[in-house]
């Protein structure tokens, strides 16, 4: 039987975020058709790209005025699309936005949900995710009329569809949706252009105890600005010392990230820190202590003071 698969596309300033294409690649399967869901979008510039990755239906859902950032309304809009198009599997990104959207959808329709998936088998409804602070990989069997899957950003290399069909645009009216007892007073969206989401970053430069103080973190942000799409992270020590805000923490009780490159600057590499960055593509460690755990658990290591190396690196970028 033909399966209808729905993919929630995340836009940034009206453009498709790069990490969506890995998700679409993961969602492609035999005997299925791919629906892309967007909300209040200008679809003119989206069609061609989505089509090349194998999307055959683009569903643009209109929301009530000024409710684009309301996660309850967004969840209900997606649920309407699931029903309208007989969707059996919904994909979304495990980004900050996804973490506030996908569980709402799954909860409201009592569907199983696995966040941070990096592998799926849609024939058998099996997904893989990490558990126990990144120490194990769990294979989870899902059952239900609708399954909801959060895909770990950057986990899958985007590959264009071999034989894409022509994309069809559909509209769905969600302007009547309400969120009883829940309203958005303010959104942090405005600041987002200046800060790159840690979870989605291709490259992360993270600082730990070796950064010594708050001011030295500007060395990392200056370096990050010179690298494409790089974000600055931190270890728990740096956060607890008050050098940088909680939101920058990578690890067990911070963000779990999978960048293509993770540059650990003056970070010792506790088990809890590894829990947050273990799945990075490449790890480069810079530390004065050659016995630091990170030095034996990385791809490249430099035995030197990060405060000397980073400015030198910035000069060359």
């Amino acid at each position: 039987m033909m399966k209808n698969i729905g993919i929630i596309i995340e836009l940034d300033n009206g453009k498709i975020k790069e990490t969506n294409f890995g998700m679409i690649t993961l969602a492609r399967a035999d005997k299925s058709q791919l629906f892309a869901f967007v909300m209040d979008a200008d679809t003119r510039d989206l069609k061609q790209e989505l089509e090349s990755f194998g999307i055959t239906q683009l569903v643009n859902i209109s929301l009530p005025p000024d409710q684009q950032n309301n996660p309850v309304i967004r969840a209900k809009a997606i649920i309407n699309a699931i029903k309208a198009f007989n969707i059996s599997i919904v994909f979304g990104l495990s980004t900050a936005m996804g973490k506030d959207l996908l569980p709402r959808i799954a909860a409201l329709i009592e569907a199983p949900l696995v966040m941070d998936c990096f592998h799926v088998d849609l024939e058998q409804n099996l997904v893989k995710t990490s558990q126990y602070s990144g120490k194990t990989i769990a294979t989870i069997k899902l059952a239900g009329d609708v399954l909801v899957l959060g895909v770990r950003p950057n986990a899958v290399e985007p590959i264009k569809a071999q034989d894409p069909g022509q994309i069809l645009e559909l509209k769905l009216d969600g302007t009547h949706l309400v969120s009883k007892g829940f309203s958005v007073i303010r959104t942090g969206e405005a600041d987002k252009s200046t800060t790159i989401d840690l979870v989605e970053a291709d490259v992360i430069i993270a600082g730990g105890r070796g950064m010594k103080n708050s001011e030295n973190f500007t060395l990392l942000s200056t370096c990050a600005e010179k690298l494409n799409a790089a974000a600055v992270g931190a270890s728990r020590v740096a956060v607890d010392s008050g050098w940088v805000p909680y939101a920058m923490q990578v690890g067990q009780t911070g963000e779990k990230v999978s960048p293509r490159v993770y540059i650990a600057c003056g970070i010792s590499g506790s088990i809890q820190h590894f829990a947050g960055m273990k799945t990075a593509g490449m790890v480069i460690a810079i530390n004065t202590d050659e016995n630091a755990a990170i030095m034996s658990n990385c791809d490249y290591y430099v035995k030197a003071d990060v405060l000397e190396i980073i400015p030198e690196l910035t000069k060359l970028l």
Binding site: K99, D100, I137, A138, K141, R186, G188
Partner: protein, 255 residues
């Protein structure tokens, strides 16, 4: 107001995990109160101080051993505990239903807390499922919470330090994030006193949870292998920087 805090008994993040019987772990390791739940308890106790007559009740679904985690919650200031004993693992749909049934049987929640995720299953969804079952509004990764009469105003943190501010009617469900507060760790006297606080035990099967067709079952666990072979980059700082650029460009292809 009755403030319920849903807590979980989880393996200490510092211990090694050994997989047994293909899809379980060797549980002869240290377990503790899920770190995010510490923020939830701390916040609930703080709210109680401002709202005299309130009660903080910690609820936990787990095996018999999970009683220790409830004791930790009581030592941190919860007034009493409810342990729902299930010797089998529950997925998040069953977990939310069991927690809801236990809370409903016990009283009338004015506010419900969970941690933003558990550090073992990392599911990030129980708060939303509880909210949907009760039809209460929900916010997760809450780093600031103000209770104003019949409303809660929360900052729900996104990454990059930005947060959305939501207004929710009470009762509501809050997934506590790490920035919410600094947990008050118990003194020796708190620990001694907590032993006198009551813990009610309910057997999972007695809650008559309606079976769901939907579910998620772990069929296999495998250790995440580290396959990295560290290579040293040597030289003076200029040489090292040049080498890093080369790696970023030629091997990682990010520049």
């Amino acid at each position: 107001m009755q403030i319920y805090v849903c807590v979980k008994h989880v393996p200490d993040s510092a211990v090694n995990i050994t997989i047994v019987d293909k899809n379980s772990i060797d549980e002869n390791i240290t377990f503790l109160l899920n770190p995010y739940d510490e923020h939830a308890i701390t916040e609930a106790v703080q709210i109680k101080k401002n709202l005299p007559g309130s009660e903080v009740i910690a609820v936990c679904l787990g095996k018999t051993d999970a009683r220790n985690t409830l004791r930790s919650a009581l030592a941190m200031g919860a007034d009493r505990g409810i342990l729902i004993v299930s010797e089998n693992g529950c997925d998040s749909i069953e977990t939310a239903k069991a927690l809801k049934a236990a809370m409903e049987q016990d009283g009338s929640p004015g506010l419900i807390f969970t941690g933003r995720e558990s550090i073992d299953a990392e599911g990030m969804q129980t708060m939303f499922r509880i909210g949907a079952l009760f039809n209460f509004p929900v916010a997760t990764n809450v780093v600031k919470l103000d209770i104003e009469a019949d409303r809660a105003v929360v900052n729900s943190e996104l990454s990059g330090g930005t947060a959305n501010t939501y207004d929710m009617s009470l009762p509501c469900v809050i997934g506590a994030g790490r920035g919410l507060n600094t947990p008050d760790y118990p003194t020796f006297r708190d620990v001694v006193n907590s032993k006198k606080k009551p813990i009610k035990t309910i057997v999972f099967s007695e809650l008559n949870i309606e079976a769901s067709l939907a579910g998620a079952n772990i069929i296999e666990l495998e250790p995440l292998q580290q396959k990295r072979e560290p290579k040293e980059i040597t030289g003076d700082k200029a040489v090292i920087a040049k080498e890093i650029v080369k790696i970023l460009r030629d091997k990682a292809k990010v520049i």
